[in-house]
Symmetry: C2
Subunit: 666 residues, 2 copies
């Protein structure tokens, strides 16, 4: 079979009305970054040992881990080389990019992800200068992980049960796991790989509990890798995804560590057991917020991968006829298929834009914090909560939509769509469960509404609440700005209603907590539509700005994507618009027909738009989505790798089938 | 650790206000069936060899297949014993039940599913009396599967490319796979297990193509199991689920079979090549409709499993406080958790009811067909399409909702929730892809609307279209019947709008096919809300009838579930109700507060309701959902089975980690 590019894809690429490379540069935040990304891509992806002969899906659980560790240490070496060169990986675009490449290499996750991504940065953020000097030494033997969640506690941090009790006699902390539910459970790399662990535990001094603090504990011998005395550690078994990471459990039985192993940048325990409180009790927020912010960009990348696979496949796949006298058409020509896929393209751009905006916001707020100004921390926290929650949920359901849009073939692991789903779906839960995060933002919104009622000054992203109180209903405008205002009207309306419901419950004599629980469906709903209004506004604002800086051909396409996002969500939420804005039935019909127009406008550029994501075949790692469109050839090639196909007759025939055939009717 | 039952579950069971066993009998369609089910459960589940020491998730792809084949032949023996006893498995409740047990045994699917469930029944339905006498002989050595879908064609059956050309010289058919895309792809059990295959191919006689027909082809030698000459066969590789089934590919290179191997009940090819057409061209529909009907009951069972796991876990799991002075509460007390889970309980009952109704409808229509009356076939086909589509999509998203409601622990395979998702999600695609099926029903609805406009008589399930044309808007009634009428108003309104849109496109000069494509989003939407109105009406009607036959305590609870289903969907579709019914903003608020009341009413019975599903622990196969609620103990026990935990230090330390530790900083 020839290896030339599929003709449908060639035609699609010719049809494209804009310069794909220009869009790639926009996505990368500049041509320089594109070049740097490509350099790193080339460098890592050209390492032959990173590629498997047998795809990891055929391996056993244990083999999969061993193979992943092999690759992880090759990648660690690369990272070190980049860090000691001008190709620093610390800049915002690049780390995510490095992770994306790894998605392809592992078709899953790097078991050293926590070591590289969280362990060192937590030490940098929470350890004192002396501790950092000690631990960040060049000859460190630590392979680290971070242990917070326990078997019995995740969302409710205060409920964590692991204890670290100060022993003034020996100047040590004694760590214990009082019950089965107190076992640490989930940390990545803990099961078999890490020899060091940052442990979140309740600090007890002299019978007083001072709450959660972080302790550095060596858990395995550096030379033998055997667990140290007082440590019970192992892996927690297979999961939906992340199976190349050895997520683990960890229990302590009077495990002793020196006092100096508590992370003491913001808080101290002195030699005599004196506890020195942190200046601000919200300082620990920082790294959790940052992880959530970075996740949004990662979700944009995952959705880009899924959309690339589904759009290219839909251009290659022919099925049935639209006109009876013509050959079978590309399934991308079905409006129902465009309806499934183009919102994925638009959402991926929206998440990228919002991820970048949050990154910049986070940087500004963090700079303020270093100046001692904590004022914007609650707003940052609230934004990171709801945007992480909604983006993870949207990305997950859209990835699954891409998979389903590929029909049966999307169910094959060789499509890579199930793995992208399993990876993305995890983000709805880790680093803050969806509903828990939405209710955190709701709490901020209730406070903001109270402030608005009392004419207090409001932060930028809730300023519309003040405006809502003052003004009357505006006439519905069928424009992007009109839709954004509509979403703000819904958000304000639902925030007001939730607030009123809470107040009514309180007047009826309920506890605040009971009232909160009874209102939680409404509160979550208010948070969600508030988040949608943010996504719409931020994406559209950025689109308009970007359009001023790019060629007219590209600007036209970007505006179509931006508008599609707004119109799609206006139609999805038309019920709320009917309740909370002045939209009419006729306005909704106009939006429907505009939506149809936008699908038709985007159709000729669909393949160009996914090409512009510029994701290499090795990173897509999909039979359905490769650049050359050799879909069916690749499917057959991948199937031929199955160990079951390496033998003509499997031994189960002799062992189980033949004896029955000889004796019985089947 | 003691093995007594978790105290929270004990308390929950005491709180239950109805007789769980009575509900179990309702679910089983009578006490007799419950007893029979329990007998079969006991019999099969007590076979020790069916249980693994190492859970299948730890095995490699190949080992997993071999282990599944081992178990499949044990189960085949059981089925044969039941069939030759009074415990016939042919009745409607029982086959599904047998499959459910297998879900637990395989934590996945039986590789002989197609052999047992489709191969023989297709022969019974499509083979002539002579052929049946020959093939169904007691000493048959056939292990069969059914090959329809090809690499390049699924939904569009007419596009299937495999050919069967009649050779009058030898009185044979010659089968060929003309292109790569013509390879059969997907049949379960084909990859390594089957030696016989029913093959769908284009029948060619003397240069004329007579369309698709079914041919019985031996593909492997009965003794050696080696593929026969002219056969290329293998497995297609790992999938999201169904990994214990060796789904396969199959290609033909001038493979010859006797003329008598074409299935000739309804159609014949004579010795001289004369083609004798079938009397009715829709007779082939039958088995596809039946599979879709049976799927609905299976989906109800899968959702029951997921709901049982999530509800029991939510009763055992404590997290955070509702009141600050009280201990951490059960997460089932959070209204947001009830919102996620109780709709799963209600939907499972709704699907069970609708599955049974469809089963009975199918039986009646089939009896009519045997009398030569085909009149109701189009309606049956339309109902099976849309109900299969919507129930599979609903069940899948609700199973995922159950998984997410279990937080991080739901991500572990030991919860079994990811596997239930992977299994259920497949049903959105196989046996008719969601959008394709919805558009099939839409075509029926467009015809029905035309008939309604022309005052033609209408079948029962679309009779509301006639009423809609005649009557004026009714006043909104806040009652179950009012909601059902509301859904019919939306359905009729959307059917009318879609029809008008189609007509407008036609008047504007578009081809019918183009007009259909441009209207497909609206058409799918109309089908969906029509299906919802069916689900609401059928479930509520059955609920009212059942309530007349059960104790008052149970009736109260069943009515709450029925009403919850209606109110939930009315709120989900409030936008459409605002557009197409006379519902007011105030009515919606009343529904919201009624919804809150229903959650509170169902809360004390939640555990009782899942206990009444009466699913054995072996079938649930979940650390989180077992009857005794030993959640954390089971999680630790399951983790201890990991082969990675069987060794203190994995060899990857010596091979990959230690060399780096000795040389470098980590």
């Amino acid at each position: 079979m020839s290896k030339k590019i599929n003709e449908d894809l060639l035609k699609e690429r010719k049809k494209c009305t804009f310069d794909m490379q220009e869009l790639t540069h926009v996505i990368d935040c500049g041509e320089q970054n594109t070049m740097k990304r490509k350099f790193i891509d080339d460098y890592i992806l050209n390492i032959k040992e990173l590629w498997d002969d047998v795809p990891e899906e055929y391996l056993s659980h244990k083999e999969r881990y061993e193979n992943a560790i092999r690759k992880a240490f090759i990648i660690l070496r690369c990272l070190r080389e980049f860090n000691s060169s001008s190709m620093q990986v610390s800049e915002h675009r690049t780390p995510t990019n490095i992770y994306s490449i790894q998605d392809g290499i592992f078709r899953n996750v790097n078991p050293l992800l926590i070591h590289v991504g969280l362990f060192w940065s937590a030490i940098a953020a929470q350890a004192s200068a002396d501790q950092q000097a000690e631990w960040l030494k060049a000859d460190s033997k630590m392979i680290g992980t971070y242990a917070q969640t326990e078997l019995g506690h995740g969302s409710h941090l205060r409920g964590i049960e692991t204890t670290a009790t100060f022993d003034p006699e020996t100047d040590e902390f004694v760590l214990n796991t009082p019950k089965l539910t107190s076992y640490k459970w989930w940390p990545g790399g803990l099961g078999k790989t890490a020899n060091s662990c940052l442990v979140m535990a309740q600090l007890c001094i002299n019978g007083t509990c001072h709450g959660l603090h972080i302790f550095l504990v060596q858990i395995r011998d550096y030379d033998t890798h055997e667990p140290l005395p007082g440590i019970k550690v192992g892996e927690i078994g297979p999961k939906m995804g992340f199976n190349t990471a050895d997520n683990g459990f960890l229990g302590f039985d009077n495990c002793r560590i020196p006092r100096s192993n508590m992370l003491m940048k913001n808080v101290q325990v002195l030699r005599d057991g004196t506890y020195v409180k942190p200046k601000h009790n919200k300082l620990a927020y920082g790294s959790m917020v940052l992880t959530r912010v970075m996740l949004i960009t990662d979700l944009a990348n995952q959705l880009s991968r899924a959309a690339t696979i589904a759009v290219r496949y839909s251009a290659v796949r022919h099925q049935s006829q639209i006109k009876s006298d013509e050959p079978e058409c590309q399934i991308l020509d079905y409006v129902s298929q465009q309806h499934k896929l183009f919102i994925c393209l638009a959402s991926s751009h929206a998440f990228r834009v919002v991820g970048l905006w949050m990154w910049n916001t986070h940087r500004m707020v963090t700079a303020d914090i270093h100046q001692g100004n904590m004022e914007q921390l609650p707003e940052l926290h609230s934004l990171a909560c709801c945007l992480k929650a909604v983006c993870s949920r949207d990305a997950t359901s859209l990835v699954e939509q891409c998979r389903l849009a590929c029909g049966g073939h999307g169910y094959l692991l060789s499509s890579n769509l199930p793995q992208i789903y399993n990876y993305t779906a995890a983000a709805i839960t880790y680093e803050g469960e969806y509903t828990v995060l939405m209710l955190q933002t709701a709490r901020y919104l209730m406070k903001s509404w109270k402030n608005a009622l009392e004419h207090e000054p409001l932060p930028a992203n809730v300023a519309f609440l003040g405006a809502y109180i003052k003004r009357n209903y505006e006439q519905w405008q069928s424009s992007p700005e009109g839709i954004i205002n509509g979403f703000k009207d819904i958000a304000a309306g639902k925030i007001k209603t939730s607030y009123d419901t809470l107040q009514r419950h309180l007047r009826n004599g309920l506890d605040p907590e009971e009232a909160w629980n009874l209102s939680s469906i409404q509160l979550t709903d208010a948070s969600e539509v508030y988040t949608r209004s943010l996504l719409c506004e931020l994406f559209w604002r950025d689109t308009k700005q970007t359009c001023n800086t790019v060629s007219i051909n590209l600007a036209v396409v970007l505006e179509q994507l931006g508008e599609l996002y707004l119109v799609y969500w206006a139609l999805e939420k038309h019920g709320d618009l009917l309740l909370y804005s002045t939209i009419s039935r006729n306005d909704i019909e106009l939006l429907q027909s505009r939506y149809g127009e936008l699908l038709a406008l985007i159709r000729p550029n669909a393949v160009g738009l996914v090409d512009a994501f510029d994701i290499r075949d090795e990173v897509l790692s999909s039979t359905l989505g490769a650049y050359d469109g050799r879909v069916y050839e690749r499917m057959m090639e991948e199937a031929s790798k199955s160990p079951l196909n390496a033998e003509v007759v499997n031994e189960s025939f002799r062992k189980y089938i033949r004896p029955v055939l000889l004796k019985n009717k089947m």
